[in-house]
């Protein structure tokens, strides 16, 4: 089981012939991912390691029954690529691209409404379901199959957390990077809801950061609708206000979106807040041990 990526997932890579697209396609194949097609406009009819390349997403859906898309396309063309995948009725889009203008993402969100498509990202490291496969950048070696669901707004910090769990012998059901932009597709709430429903997931790790109110909204949701234990950390306790901390969405504006506010909201919702990220793995371990007894 796990969430989002499973044995029925058939992946098309948009931008498969680019240097990032081809590298990460090959890495994901090594992890067992079923990559059934690629799309690069103008390169239809060619192939990458035997994976057929098409000119448009619709062809990949019709000929190869692709239902998941991974997007590795430069920022200026990425929103258009997402819209193309929505139009082709892809079930799940994972967009890794950083730097898509906010105005474009407002349009994308509009196009998603009423469609059957779910979007992860942009500006995210992707999704990995250990034992099934991955879409995105996450390094292959960090994962281990298991029962902890991981959801995060960042990249390398997420790897760090997953690696900590794996180092303690704790596996993951699915790890999801939702992206560091101000406007992203699926948010914490969507992923939390799916982890809650997923029989494989026992504990949830949620890694937030400064900016916006996604963590506060998630806290509200957890209080009402999540029965599984959630361990959480928020990055950016020392970030100065008014500055964009690398991620376009990581900014404290008008005194709102601080780590402290988020920690408080999560604590009030009964989330196990851990301010030292080096301790996240051990906190999860404690929970798993207590639950077994």
């Amino acid at each position: 089981m796990a969430i989002l990526l499973d044995e029925k997932s058939r992946v098309v890579v948009q931008g498969i012939t680019g240097s990032e697209g081809s590298f990460h396609t090959r890495e994901s194949v090594k992890l067992g991912t079923k990559v059934v097609a690629g799309v690069t406009p103008g390169k239809g009819g060619t192939a990458l390691d035997g994976i057929p390349v098409y000119d448009c997403v619709r062809d990949a859906v019709e000929r190869q029954q692709a239902n998941v898309s991974g997007i590795y396309i430069p920022a200026a063309f990425a929103a258009d690529a997402i819209l193309e995948a929505i139009e082709a009725e892809i079930d799940l889009i994972v967009c890794m691209t950083e730097g898509i203008p906010v105005a474009e993402m407002i349009k994308v969100k509009q196009a998603l409404k009423g469609s059957g498509t779910r979007l992860i990202g942009p500006n995210c490291p992707g999704i990995t379901t250990p034992g099934t496969g991955k879409v995105g950048f996450m390094p292959n070696f960090i994962h281990k199959q298991g029962n902890v669901g991981v959801v995060s707004r960042s990249g390398t910090l997420t790897y760090e957390m997953i690696w900590q769990l794996t180092g303690l012998g704790i596996g993951q059901s699915t790890s999801v990077g939702i992206g560091g932009d101000p406007i992203v597709g699926c948010g914490f709430i969507d992923i939390l809801e799916w982890f809650e429903e997923d029989p494989l997931t026992e504990v949830i790790v949620m890694i937030g950061e400064i900016g916006g109110t996604a963590e506060e909204e998630a806290a509200e949701f957890i209080r009402g609708q999540v029965t599984k234990p959630v361990v959480s950390f928020i990055a950016g306790q020392t970030a100065p206000p008014g500055r964009r901390m690398g991620h376009a969405g990581a900014i404290i504006s008008g005194g709102k979106g601080t780590a402290e506010e988020k920690f408080k909201a999560l604590e009030r919702a009964g989330v196990l807040v851990e301010k030292n990220p080096a301790e996240i793995g051990r906190r999860v371990q404690e929970i798993l041990i207590t639950e077994k007894n």
């Binding site: 906010v102 390398t156 690696w163 901390m245 990581a250 780590a259 030292n276």
Partner: protein, 387 residues
């Protein structure tokens, strides 16, 4: 990206939004000439990227060209301190000389992006309480702020202007002018990829006109690639010199006040590293994300920027190697440390792909690297080196 008031007013003018006549000056003589051309009373306004200039003495009225010249002499070159500049203030290099306006009432009008879940769109905010800090109004009298969300697919409709102007108590004549301003502002916001567009105050003048007396426009950095005309408005004098150098080197860097310099891959991990330094009893000197595919050249550039900050007493390198292998990072670190003759002590924490090889290379390099294993241990070691 931020721009100056005089630049923002030029953009408003291009979109048909009324602003006072005026021109920019960088010397007292230029200010005098500007005031002569305007005739009558003027206002001399310091141009810095911060609000609250009036209270800090950065805005002065002038009854004559001589007074405008004197006002400019007082303002130009001053370190203007406002609630947004920090205690050191900002040096004033330009003033805007504008015709003075007889104001009957001051309003507030702005456009922002609502990023909250399910509501992603552009929103107008308006208030009768103009000329004040809107965050203060939001706190003390939130009922005085009206909001109006623009549906992204439908776009702006005239009824939305009527809704806002009714809440502002405008008369029929003013409503017409206001509707035109609102329509044009929305067009500007989208066409130029703005992230914030604020007119505060939007004045109703004694003779019944609407006039944008002060304005602030911020742009979405991710939209700048398609606006060369906006990129040209960037004023490097308003930015921290090290941050300008970092941007040129494609390194994501923000200067802070502490003494532990850090170099990290990934924004989330970089923020976390800062948090850990603080938790270990130290203060981070900066935020620095070298990016995913950090080449030896990029690492060297990052080192140069870190070491140019004279507050830095030691450097903490925290890399989680995925695609970027740890041995490659070590090679880059060693090369960079040799090239720039690094004298500062350094704690290096590597994790991930080829970590053993990476650590061995550092230890055998003969350079002063202290190797750490855990995230917190690395921060503790770095902080101890500053004491």
């Amino acid at each position: 990206m931020k721009i100056h008031e005089y630049q923002a007013k030029q953009i408003l003018m291009e979109y048909g939004i009324p602003v006072p006549r005026g021109s920019v000056a960088s010397t007292p003589d230029e200010a005098r000439a500007a005031a002569e051309a305007l005739q009558g009373k003027t206002v001399v306004k310091a141009q810095i990227h911060a609000g609250g200039r009036g209270k800090g003495g950065g805005i002065k009225p002038a009854a004559s060209p001589d007074e405008a010249c004197n006002a400019a002499r007082a303002i130009l070159g001053m370190q203007l301190v406002t609630h947004q500049t920090g205690p050191e203030g900002k040096k004033v290099r330009k003033v805007l000389v504008e015709e003075a306006s007889a104001v009957r009432k001051e309003l507030y009008l702005s456009l922002v992006v609502d990023r909250s879940r399910g509501k992603e769109c552009v929103v107008f905010m308006a208030s009768e309480a103009g000329g004040m800090d809107i965050e203060q109004v939001a706190e003390t009298a939130p009922e005085k702020i009206v909001k109006c969300a623009i549906h992204p697919a439908v776009g702006f409709s005239p009824f939305q202007a009527r809704k806002l102007s009714a809440a502002l108590g405008l008369n029929a004549e003013q409503q017409k002018l206001f509707a035109e301003i609102v329509r044009n502002l929305y067009r500007l916001f989208l066409e130029k990829d703005c992230s914030l567009l604020e007119i505060n105050p939007l004045a109703i003048t004694e003779d019944g006109r609407l006039l944008a007396l002060d304005t602030k426009i911020n742009f979405d950095d991710d939209g700048l690639y398609r606006h060369p005309e906006i990129r040209e408005l960037r004023d490097p004098d308003e930015e921290e010199p090290l941050e300008v150098a970092a941007r040129d080197a494609a390194v994501n860097y923000i200067k802070l006040d502490g003494n532990v310099g850090c170099m990290v891959n990934g924004a989330g991990l970089a923020m976390t590293t800062m948090d850990m330094i603080k938790m270990a009893g130290g203060e981070p000197a900066n935020f620095l994300d070298v990016g995913g595919g950090a080449s030896p050249e990029r690492i060297e550039q990052a080192f140069r920027i870190l070491t140019s900050d004279t507050n830095v007493k030691c450097i903490l390198v925290n890399i989680f190697g995925g695609v970027l292998r740890c041995d490659r990072v070590s090679a880059g670190l060693i090369q960079a440390a040799k090239n720039i003759e690094m004298r500062l002590p350094m704690v290096v924490r590597l994790q991930g792909t080829n970590v053993e090889e990476g650590r061995r290379m550092l230890q055998e390099s003969g350079l002063r690297f202290m190797v750490a294993d855990g995230l917190y241990e690395a921060a503790e070691k770095a902080v101890s080196l500053t004491k």
